[in-house]
Symmetry: C2
Subunit: 287 residues, 2 copies
């Protein structure tokens, strides 16, 4: 496994591999590190479908708001490299902030509409930062396919929209949410949770399962707002849960939906704070 810090070195490593095998498939997993089983599942999917697997680890300042957790975002380089190695990664790209942003960027890639709600509304500028850094990473690695976890379902919708609009020559592969045994969605931010918060955070996945059950047993009268209210009521049973949003939207367009039967797929998306820690979770329900 090669560990590279310089853009130029990554370009050359990929170029060399392509020169040796003109049909080479490059699979790419961009992350912010502090890798968990969710990330490992992305690397494993990339490993299965690609000849060369590239992982990037970069905590991207551009996607953090001024009052967000950039400085305290968890990092563990040694464990990350062990996870990467175990998953069969070929190249780890581990750039510094100075390498990625030698100057403050004057160029921003901005996606509208799919960014209007959910985390786009709650975290202004966040998805501009995501779209811009993903564009940079795609331009550096030039992968055939890139793998993203569905926990960040809006992120996937944004990146797919960007790729479609800009004709970016990269296939986007969404991968299922990976959960702890008790249901909590894997997240680098779970490490922030105090024991009681960790316990009450189970309400997210429980509320989504409950909602899925309501949809499955629905005879056709269930309205989106009614379902949303049931989810909110469920979450409010946990006194530490501070709801940022709980929304039901068409997926992947992320426009509001009133009649659940009118849309082929919808997402129930949650962002809930437990103490200082903001967790997200979601379920996508298809007809």
């Amino acid at each position: 496994m090669q560990i590279l810090h310089r853009i130029q070195d990554v370009r050359e490593a990929v170029k060399t591999a392509r020169a040796e095998n003109s049909g080479l498939k490059v699979g790419f997993v961009p992350t912010m590190g502090y890798l968990h089983k969710g990330h490992a599942s992305l690397l494993e999917a990339a490993r299965e479908q690609s000849d060369l697997v590239v992982l990037s680890i970069f905590v991207n300042p551009l996607q953090f708001g001024p009052n967000e957790d950039l400085s305290r975002y968890p990092r563990d380089q040694e464990r990350d490299l062990a996870v990467a190695r175990a998953a069969g990664t070929d190249i780890v790209f581990f750039p510094s902030v100075e390498e990625m942003y030698p100057q403050p960027t004057k160029t921003v890639v901005s996606v509208s509409e799919v960014t209007e709600r959910l985390c786009g509304a709650a975290r202004p500028g966040h998805f501009d930062g995501v779209a811009t850094v993903v564009t940079k990473l795609f331009n550096i690695v030039q992968p055939d396919q890139a793998y993203f976890g569905l926990k960040d379902a809006q992120q996937i919708a944004v990146i797919q929209q960007m790729v479609d609009d800009l004709n970016t020559p990269v296939g986007i592969v969404p991968c299922p949410i990976v959960r702890e045994e008790d249901g909590l969605a894997m997240s680098s931010r779970n490490v922030y949770l105090q024991p009681e918060e960790r316990k009450q955070a189970l309400v997210l996945s429980a509320a989504l399962r409950m909602a899925e059950g309501l949809v499955q047993s629905d005879s056709g009268s269930l309205q989106a707002e009614e379902l949303r209210q049931a989810v909110i009521d469920h979450i409010r049973q946990s006194p530490l849960a501070d709801i940022d949003y709980a929304d039901i939207l068409a997926y992947p367009s992320l426009v509001p939906v009133t009649d659940l039967r009118s849309t082929p797929a919808f997402i129930i998306a949650l962002a809930v704070k437990f103490g200082k820690t903001r967790l997200i979770d979601n379920i996508i329900i298809r007809k």
Copy 2:
């Protein structure tokens, strides 16, 4: 010479050529058509430096403002193909608006600072449209180098900034302004000029030559504002000239400059209307 209308066909043609020659250099000239000797010089530079020369002809609606000349922008497909053929072009990409924008784009590539002045100020949204379509075209053609004329000096500065910021794997090659024998900078829009306007439009290149002379004979006391005023006074001798801007800025940063000796290169940039026709011209002066 292949003439292709579909994105997929261009991708495949370039891919096929690369598969046959792994060291293939692809040179790309993006244009809005109505090709003149300026465009031909770009194609010739690309021909000299590349194995495969790709020309795109696309009048990009995204870079025109609501009151601009999109609908009457001149077109001559037959002549364009003759110019392309004569310059040794291999592939002409000639997409429809529907092919490039099957849906209105939700994604915009936006460059700040270098777009604040000159045409960026005079044509709001123009450079977002340019940066976005150039990103799309680069993603479709995936060239090694792209060729742009220095008549649109701000456009080159914007694209170079974008490429630097986004790590776009394309080299930007600026090419000199090509002029008519009498000095008028080649432009597709010159065809709009009425005979008297055409005559008076010579004032642009004349004012720039005059300014260059002032700089060359300057003993060190010449200030930017004084030079700018001399250029404006010169242009105003032509009664049909309606000055949109006449500015002196550092190049390529395009920030204001007061002391001409403090900057290694500056641009004198002009946009002047003659009747309905807006012409631009410039000179870049290096120490």
